[in-house]
Symmetry: C2
DNA sequence: GTCTATAACCTGATAGAC
DNA sequence: GTCTATCAGGTTATAGAC
């Protein structure tokens, strides 16, 4: 697990770190509702009252965890998309790779985000605003919009770019249990299937962003 | 709600029908874990023990509900995709419309399916098999594969077609709370946004399925 | 068939000893 | 700081009266 240790929680205390780690794992795996404080305590190797000493309520604990998780995601895109000297197919390809490496470590992360958005979208949005991640997100948006204004991209509303990119990126992970059960070839692993998916994903994003002639040209490079 | 009344549950008893309806609504809205038997009883206008008379356990009740829901979905595609005289763009467009009309009635249906697949994929898969929906699904698959064999479509593995189609179709609904909060234009409704999304969705599916030249030709018709 | 009453359990949370 | 003991509240489920 250990999504990345760029977190701002006081890891000075080893018990606290153990708790956060256990909570992070269980919340992602089973969601807020189906994770009990007892589960977390058991996994962290302590007992319930000790949990409540560190994080007074279940809700406060969840907030401590969600910050860590969200902050691990947006920076991944940020660096890659803003490298303007690279051809677009390579840049988007790089973004996919960055997300893939995260998702292979934590396959249920997309599911977690979607589930908790559904449970309490305002909470997640306000967390993102508090962490000033919306500033970075705005930079990403500007970067794409610039390419649209100079005519290299179709003028696609940015929200539809997000729907496309994230939809195509995370759908195999949202359906992973079904895919693992009935859609893998003999001996194929889920990770191998994800790698085969990548060119199709890229193809469709380019079909959205590029004018027809440019799209056909770019197909050679995939 | 009333997803469609092609269900096989004994609706002879009006109380039982009321219960199913209430349970269907709440399970879809909040999911299995966060829906209590008391909630269902309250919404159906009876009390808890009466619930347990009709459906001995919460689990049995959920199974009764899931059958109704799943059976409302696959037939929608089935009829449309097999009309071979229609041009492909129109057929897929029709499928999108069919799903849209379902999702506008029940916007949290995709979320529900994804959430419960994650909770217990085997249960959902075995339900589908029990209902013989896999036979209809196989027909849909054959229909697509036929067009690939005769060279009208690219030879895209069928699982990737599903990832594309359902990913692009349901992502706006999975993100609906975020979209409603920060991605709508002034005065725009979520339904209007969905309609604007449709041509982009279609464009990307065609980019996947059609050879480059055919794709460029088809773009005129969108 | 539908209700009242109640069992048995698990949840999050707190008080207080060490 | 971390434990034991305990609380109040909500959960599914059942037994038995009507």
């Amino acid at each position: 697990m250990s999504i990345q240790d760029n977190n701002k929680t006081d890891n000075h205390n080893p018990t606290e770190a153990k708790i956060i780690e256990a909570a992070k794992y269980l919340f992602i795996q089973k969601g807020y509702a189906e994770t009990s404080m007892s589960d977390i305590a058991a996994r962290a190797g302590i007992n319930r009252p000790a949990l409540h000493y560190y994080f007074r309520t279940k809700d406060k604990m969840f907030h401590a965890v969600i910050g860590d998780i969200v902050s691990a995601i947006i920076p991944k895109v940020y660096k890659l998309l803003t490298k303007k000297e690279m051809p677009i197919a390579n840049r988007i390809g790089g973004m996919i790779d960055a997300y893939y490496s995260l998702f292979i470590q934590i396959p249920r992360l997309p599911m977690f985000i979607i589930r908790e958005i559904n449970r309490d979208a305002d909470m997640l949005i306000s967390t993102i605003i508090q962490m000033h991640l919306n500033v970075k997100a705005q930079n990403v948006i500007n970067c794409i919009q610039e390419e649209m204004n100079c005519g290299k991209f179709n003028k696609v509303p940015i929200r539809f770019f997000f729907c496309s990119f994230y939809g195509l990126l995370v759908t195999p992970l949202l359906m992973q249990d079904v895919i693992r059960a009935v859609m893998l070839e003999d001996g194929e692993t889920f990770e191998q299937m994800l790698q085969k998916w990548k060119p199709y994903l890229l193809r469709q994003i380019l079909a959205l962003l590029l004018p027809p002639q440019e799209f056909v040209k770019a197909l050679g490079g995939i």
